[in-house]
């Protein structure tokens, strides 16, 4: 099936198999940071933004991306650089495996929530599992990036 997807603001013609998920289509197109981790929809590694909303690309059929703005890490380079700096400042950069999905979720959260509490931040990020489990450093960085006390 030939479909058109708008990825990071650029229209692309994509050939997909019926029933193919967005994650594998994106990977084929070279977006290698859209990773697949758990295969059960619970780790958040494959997160992309669909019309700005954090969405599991491993559980979203590629056809459901038609007519929507699909954003991967490459499409948010300015915010990604800002967050990466805060993250490294806090010494919270670890193996990096969860970083793309985690970073996109943090960026979406900053746009969606106004001065969130710590509990609201944790609730928003529950779907992002970090295998290194260094959550405390990450949380410090997120708080700093979100500009909350």
């Amino acid at each position: 099936m030939e479909i058109k997807l708008k990825i990071n603001g650029i229209n692309k013609e994509v050939t997909i198999k019926d029933g193919e998920y967005l994650q594998s289509a994106l990977k084929r197109l070279g977006f290698l940071n859209v990773r697949k981790g758990c295969e059960t929809g619970s780790c958040g590694l494959c997160t992309v933004l669909l019309n700005g909303k954090p969405t599991l690309s491993c559980s979203t059929l590629a056809v459901r991306g038609i007519g929507k703005e699909i954003t991967t890490l490459e499409g948010e380079s300015v915010e990604v650089a800002k967050f990466a700096e805060v993250l490294t400042d806090e010494g919270a950069d670890q193996c990096g495996y969860c970083s793309p999905g985690f970073t996109l979720t943090v960026i979406a959260m900053k746009r969606e929530l106004e001065s969130p509490t710590i509990d609201e931040i944790k609730h928003y990020l529950t779907g992002n599992l970090c295998r290194c489990t260094g959550y405390m450093g990450q949380l410090r960085a997120v708080k700093k990036y979100m500009e909350v006390k």
Partner: protein, 257 residues
Amino acid sequence: MFTIKQHLMAQSIEEGYETLVKNRNNMILGGTGFLRLGNKNINIGIDLSNLELDYIREGEDNIEIGPMTTFRSIETNKLLKENFDGVVAKSVEEIVGIQLRSVITAGATVASKYGFSDFITALLSLDTHIELYKGGILSLEEYLSEEKVPKDILVKIIIKKDGKRAAFKAMRNSKSDYAILNCAVSCLDGEYRVAVGARPGRAVVKIINNDELINNIDKKIEEVVDEMKFGTNMRASGKYREMIAKVLIRRSIEELK
């Protein structure tokens, strides 16, 4: 592995329905978050996402939820937060993560009668009806009591706006995990509707009248729990669930008093 041989973007509910009944391996696709974990070989996957079935609307005396509405929309919807003490919105907020809730749909969960569903339990504590394309409108309780999932399309979830107060509780081993047991209780005019799900079977509902609770709340709850069956699976034993149920029902009722 789950496979779809052919994907159909239905242009109307009628087209979706005709395709559905043509072959037993044709299926309606919801969010496909749970479906993809199974081993189904789907002949034609029928996609309803172009039919504007993603909405939460306020009618004169009810709230209508379209089947393609995602759990994230339900969680953040103002109307659902403001009615019934927000029980419907609260019931979905601990389900895995925000990214999964942006994918999974209300219609697929309800139509498939998932036993582990927190959402169904909350709906069941309220006066909820569903509309099937061919089967018409029936109460959720009636729909769940039928063993089979019918070859039909769920077109709408209808919750009566009758001013019920309600509470939702679930027991999980860790946040965002599946519930070991869930419970939703609503209250109106001295009548408590007690819904319990993840037993691990489908949610069931029992009625308790306020006057039955005076002086013997624990005994009454015990009676209600005795009428429900609790099963054992890898998450918990039936006995454990039964004990948890009593606590969650009691806490819910206390909250509503």
